[in-house]
Symmetry: C2
DNA sequence: CGTTTCAATATGTATATACATAATCGTCAT
DNA sequence: ATGACGATTATGTATATACATATTGAAACG
């Protein structure tokens, strides 16, 4: 078996086999196609599927294991892990899950939805160079009776045109986007701020009250997808992240 | 060359060669022995040094490259990278580097230093079950003339007895600990809070002003080492973290 | 029936090898 | 000088192979 024998003969990008296996599996897991607990094909099966050596498959799976997405057990195989704490917090950031983890009932409410031509600020936030349509959303996440987070979101409609047809009343934009758009990169900015009028009103706190702000920009294959800002009242929220040094 | 031919014949732990190479190099980098820009030995040199195959060395170096600690250039070699945004922010969190990255002069000032038997709160913060001596430090980090961060730190003297002999006037505890104690795990808690009297005084802001709080607990081989709380005035600080899904 | 033993199996780690690719350096001709 | 070109070098990726190790499941045995 030579190096040239890849599936797509019409070469698009020179992506390595090992990278392809890795992202294939990752997508299956993140999309939910392979739920937690699901057994991933054995190394020798993947070896057949991708027509490569075990070493190559092993490298990809080891990496997924180190990243915490899967768990490997000798003699038994590799399994999709339950979503992990720090991963959930900084990668997915699904507020429903956060709230339910607190044992409180979750409720979502869309406040505003505007489709517009992206202005200068919109483009800065999204990191867009060309003009184009964007969707602006404001919504509230409740934990029990109390507002838990105030969300302000921009969606790049050039990247996700289907979003224009969605009202986002029944489903929040976050979960809607996950699964539809496989994100390849995300940038978080975390800071504290004093609540302004608008925010204080939404969160039912005093103006000037300290709030935690988490902003995230997401890309999918170099294209900006969304910019979202979550504002949490200070007392309601702590981000937790656990690290081992440089993935070693 | 057989598998048994390791340096330390008197076996301590069954740690893999690849892990050993990885942590050796990581320690050299994190301790500063190999500063940014320093050229790491070529693969074939490490092959000789560790008496192993190039594949093994390559795997370790590739991993360090993916983790962002080093940069690899064909034909030129591998080099220690400048401390990077998210790595710096969430892994090392060296305030000197943060301040200097802003182009401002850095200054450090130790406010308080108390050695004491750890009380209940100390032990909770450190995650200690048994009682023991701790070192309590309060200090201020300046960017130019302005206070940049207020630091409150507990050091577990059972884990780091040498700290009892250090005054921490010339050097901050963070850089002192790095290089001396190879940390194996860290947990961050990030939240917003209103400045209390003590903090407001130290940071020269109004009481009640919003602040960003970053707390970190660090372990070395299962032993709690230190708990540190950094308080930043809201306007002075944003954490930035960039992710690709599960390190792919 | 319970326990021990053993073979089968999947992963873990390492080897030697091969060829591709990018960057650098010296050489040579213009 | 300077630019083209080819040799050299270090990394990038993949292969086939080997043996270690943990775990499972079934067979053998008391």
């Amino acid at each position: 078996m030579s190096l040239v024998e890849t599936d797509d003969v019409e070469g698009s990008e020179p992506i390595s086999l090992h990278q392809r296996i890795l992202s294939d599996i990752r997508e299956k897991i993140l999309s939910g196609a392979w739920p937690p607990g699901h057994r991933i094909p054995f190394e020798h099966e993947l070896t057949d599927e991708y027509n490569c050596s075990r070493m190559t498959v092993n490298k990809a799976l080891s990496q997924l294991a180190k990243a915490g997405l899967i768990e490997r057990r000798r003699r038994s195989g590799s399994f999709v892990r339950q979503p992990q704490s720090q991963a959930a917090v900084l990668e997915l950031h699904d507020i429903r899950i956060e709230v339910e983890a607190l044992g409180l009932p979750y409720r979502y409410e869309r406040l505003e939805r505007v489709k517009r031509r992206g202005n200068a600020e919109d483009r800065t936030l999204l990191g867009l160079s060309a003009p184009g349509s964007v969707l602006w959303l404001e919504s509230l996440h409740f934990a029990g009776e109390r507002p838990f987070a105030f969300e302000q979101r921009l969606i790049n409609l050039s990247a996700v045109p289907e979003a224009a047809d969605e009202e986002f009343v029944e489903i929040a934009a976050g979960p809607w986007l996950i699964g539809r758009v496989p994100w390849s990169e995300a940038e978080h900015r975390i800071r504290a701020m004093a609540a302004d009028e608008n925010t204080a009103d939404a969160l039912d706190v005093d103006p000037g009250a300290p709030c935690l702000v988490v902003e995230r920009r997401t890309w999918s294959a170099e294209h900006p997808v969304t910019h979202v800002r979550f504002v949490y009242p200070a007392q309601s929220h702590t981000l937790v992240a656990r690290f081992t040094p440089s993935q070693g």
